[in-house]
């Protein structure tokens, strides 16, 4: 007989399984090594026949203790730590943290750097959503979209790499601006002090390709009858649950909550002059969560095209002290990460390293709804629901 203890650890006794399970629910472990769990997530499901009676996610396999590690690092070193939280959107992780430090220090970042941050954040968003749009159909049994979307995503990764030197972990933000870009210098000794030559043209090209990818995905996935049958009406999250569980980002907008920190947190990045829509849907099911992201790619393309035309001239860095000492105080700054609300609560005591950093990551709150939404579902529908939440285990466990 199998049974759950409090933590969801399964104890198997010596008894004959087939005899004792008659008429009872069965405990099924999904993961931690399972293709549909995006890393090491374990779902302990109590199944009654084909239906899930109870579900408890067991997390922590990827817990790296970043909040503790941040307590022994300087502010400049922490950016390298935090762009590994959600590794599918590394650059976007850095922005809220660096803006929080800037606000505590009273540093006004260079306007040019701010616009470059905005562009790279949106490129990261497109890249993140393309990963979603490729891996989600895979979970529903379609392989081709993975290849097609990853092909186009590669152009965006190339652009990010050309500016920052890193594909996944840019570590590009500095207090007061961004780091002088890698490459472009004539000799090894000279470093380029700005974006590499041909950057804007490469961005334009990547945007054209991304738009093409959206069209292709619409043809291949969005209008696909089998995808719609698998995802429509599955894993519905209500408006009230979005609020109570703290679900944010595209998952919230798919349930009709018009929340977008790009519009709300106006002081963060220069989004005011840029025209774009907040995409919302009404049904809150897996298909709407997919659709919101596809439509958001198109909005982000719009944003990037406007932004590259309005990057101001000037230095990439504001003047900051060589040794960063942050005045005592505490602050919470959040940004619209591709997965939702990514925020940092920083307590400074006036030194070079923070006294406490609390990392508020989107995926953590987003998947805490799983144990509620999964009850009564079939197991294949659970996979369709889980995939549609677009989480990354690094962002859950931190």
């Amino acid at each position: 007989m199998t049974q759950l203890d409090g933590r969801g650890i399964v104890e198997v006794s010596d008894g004959g399984v087939s005899v004792e399970l008659k008429g009872e629910t069965m405990t099924l472990n999904i993961g931690p090594q399972h293709p549909s769990t995006h890393g090491v997530l374990r779902l302990v499901a109590e199944v009654d026949g084909e239906r899930i009676a109870k579900l408890e996610p067991a997390i922590g396999y990827m817990h790296r203790g970043k909040e503790k590690l941040a307590e022994v690092r300087t502010y400049a070193q922490i950016t390298a730590l935090i762009n590994r939280i959600d590794w599918v959107s590394g650059f976007a992780n850095e922005v809220a943290f660096i803006r929080a430090v800037e606000q505590l220090m009273g540093v006004e970042p260079a306007p040019r750097a701010q616009m470059i941050r905005l562009i790279l954040t949106e490129l990261t968003r497109i890249s993140n959503h393309l990963v979603f749009a490729s891996s989600y159909p895979l979970e529903l049994g379609a392989f081709t979209p993975l290849m097609w979307a990853f092909r186009e995503r590669e152009h965006i990764m190339d652009v990010i790499e050309s500016a920052t030197g890193g594909r996944f972990h840019p570590n590009f933000n500095r207090v007061g601006g961004v780091k002088p870009a890698a490459g472009g210098g004539k000799t090894q000794k000279k470093v380029s002090l700005d974006l590499p030559a041909g950057f804007y043209a490469a961005v334009e090209n990547a945007m054209d390709r991304a738009e093409l990818a959206c069209d292709e995905l619409d043809d291949l996935v969005t209008g696909n009858e089998m995808i719609q049958m698998r995802a429509k009406g599955v894993g519905i999250i209500s408006y009230d649950d979005v609020i109570a569980y703290g679900i944010s980002g595209p998952n919230a907008r798919a349930s009709g909550v018009p929340t977008d920190l790009r519009k709300l947190e106006t002081g963060l990045l220069p989004y005011e002059g840029i025209d774009f829509d907040v995409i919302t849907r009404e049904n809150g099911d897996a298909f709407d969560r997919y659709l919101v992201r596809i439509l958001e790619i198109r909005e982000s393309i719009k944003i990037v095209r406007q932004a590259i035309g309005s990057v101001p001239d000037g230095p990439l860095q504001a003047k900051v002290p060589r040794v960063l000492k942050v005045p005592p105080g505490s602050i919470y700054v959040r940004a619209e990460n591709p997965k939702g609300e990514m925020g940092y609560y920083i307590v400074s005591q006036g030194g070079r390293i923070p006294y406490r950093v609390k990392i508020r990551s989107a995926s953590f709150s987003n998947i805490s709804i799983l144990s509620k939404v999964a009850v009564g579902q079939l197991i294949p529908d659970l996979v369709a629901t889980m995939g549609s939440l677009d989480f990354v285990l690094g962002d859950v466990d931190r």
Binding site: L69, A244, V257
Partner: protein, 208 residues
């Protein structure tokens, strides 16, 4: 929400809300509103935030360990006047507007318990489990207060300031030790080789 003009600023919002729930005090430094309540008002204040102030979006719950002695990192600013305590923080915001508060309460270190918010905000469950295992704070009324990240057998509470970080035990920080000198090229030898007699010991880097 915007009946009174004072609510349009973080300060005005904080003052109005603090008066409404009978808070101890409030601050709005760095555009971050903290509203401090006593432990017995914790659940009532969170409920009022949701029902009266429209702050139904559960952002996060965590804590800060204020300790006179720290095993890792830098100590607090004014250690002599520091009151040792756990400060539990819960950020509640509006989903569609910028208004938000961080509800805060202080817990005595020998008596670290707090009523659970799970009956008010469903999303609090995981956050409270994390705070419980990381700081050793008990959340009374929590339906399932077991470890979230850590193995069952794990002892200690990692985010307490008294909890040492293994990596820093074996390798001190900060300083030049992070970059060890190569055995054959000490600064003196390097200076001699290059004929540069102004070379001194390596300047202390910004971070490492």
């Amino acid at each position: 929400m915007t009946d009174s003009p004072s609510e349009n600023t973080p300060e005005g919002f904080a003052a109005d809300f603090a008066a409404e729930i009978g808070a101890e005090r409030w601050t709005a430094d760095n555009d971050t509103v903290h509203v401090y309540v006593t432990r017995d008002k914790w659940v009532a204040a969170a409920t009022a935030a949701r029902d009266e102030a429209g702050l139904g979006f559960f952002s996060f719950l965590s804590a800060v360990d204020w300790a006179k002695e720290v095993a890792v990192g830098e100590p607090a600013d004014d250690v002599d006047n520091l009151v040792e305590r756990y400060e539990v923080l819960c950020r509640l915001s509006s989903a569609t507007e910028a208004s938000a508060i961080i509800l805060a309460t202080s817990l005595d270190k020998d008596d670290a318990w707090l009523d659970s918010l799970t009956s008010v905000y469903a999303g609090a469950a995981w956050h409270e489990r994390e705070t419980a295992e990381m700081f050793g704070i008990e959340f009374r009324g929590h339906p399932n207060l077991i470890h979230l990240y850590l193995p069952d057998s794990f002892e200690g509470h990692p985010l307490r300031k008294s909890f040492a970080l293994g990596a820093r035990e074996v390798k001190p920080w900060p300083g030049t030790v992070d970059v060890e000198e190569l055995p054959s090229t000490t600064n003196v030898e390097a200076a001699a080789l290059s004929g540069d007699d102004t070379a001194q010991s390596a300047p202390e880097g910004e971070g490492s």
